[in-house]
Subunit: 218 residues, 2 copies
Amino acid sequence: MSRLRVQNIAVSLDGFAAGPSQSLEEPLGIGGGRLHEWAFDTRFFHEMTGQPGGSEGIDNDFLDRGFEGIGAWILGRNMFGPIRGGWPDEEWRGWWGDSPPYHCPVFVLTHHARPDLVMDGGTTFHFVTEGIEVALERAKAAAGDLDVRLGGGAATVQQYLRAGLVDELQFAIVPFLLGSGERLLDGLEEVAGDFDCVEMVSSEAVTHVRLVRRGAST
Amino acid sequence: MSRLRVQNIAVSLDGFAAGPSQSLEEPLGIGGGRLHEWAFDTRFFHEMTGQPGGSEGIDNDFLDRGFEGIGAWILGRNMFGPIRGGWPDEEWRGWWGDSPPYHCPVFVLTHHARPDLVMDGGTTFHFVTEGIEVALERAKAAAGDLDVRLGGGAATVQQYLRAGLVDELQFAIVPFLLGSGERLLDGLEEVAGDFDCVEMVSSEAVTHVRLVRRGAST
């Protein structure tokens, strides 16, 4: 059974997955860049960015696990780029250069249709205008027996959580106060009780938390 | 230098220090009772409630440390009791029976004056109607060289945080989603950057986090 998994979303101690005022210059919002620093030192990140070495350990394990068994991704529009509203042209091709780190089909939620975008390394961006359920159906069809990873951002994760469609929600708590921005876990009154925390472990850098929806396969 | 310390406030993964609809029957709000279960097994809690035994370890250490060097407490009105508005009489004497666990002066923030209330075991409740600064002055005077502990609730902690008066903010993240209630860390845009996280460590049960205001003594 293919599952929908949220993995390695970084949140501040006060629960923000991005700072305020996201833009081309500050994709994670003001102050939000610090949310991802814990990953920079890992072997995972070194490999992704073509550097030698990098640390093993808990943080690296969680980053590795986040990519294991994933056959497709779903991203909110803002995860793909800073452009709001209609596409002015097809020049913007994502945050990641010619070869994005997905290496599989990626379904981008948007209100504005756009042709598929085939990138190097096996990533194809599909732009889905029919809503979150259709995106999930298409992603599951593309993933086959593998799981679908929901990459964010916070608003997109919340939509899927409220719809009861997320099977696993795993995130990293980064030890600083961001003060404002986009909360990851908000407006979840109706579904909070559906999840069990099956793992909570601190590394030197962050605390990793893994929640599983009751009844979902692990 | 006497410091103002917040210690062992329990928050859910989604940041709530109490559930909604606090009342006499549910002092921590609906679902909020689960926030404190991690403490029940400790030697600290066993001693406080007159039971033998109890577990040692990280959780017990943090609970012990929370009481070390404390000479006075400050509590928000709702931490003292469920009564809102004026005092109907002086019958309500706190949540804790005749011998509260403070054993020192406790300053209760309220808009409604009331005579000092002397309890067994060294606790005296003083009711302060002149606001948070006056309560802190009086508590520091009472504590002498010792620190003042700010016991909560969430709204009271936020008031002191926003006023730049908290030197140490230590809390425990409890691994479940509460869904709604009172957030501990909210509305802190102006002061979030003043704190450094000096400790984050997971036990089997919770993750303990300790933040220190830059420039405050540790």
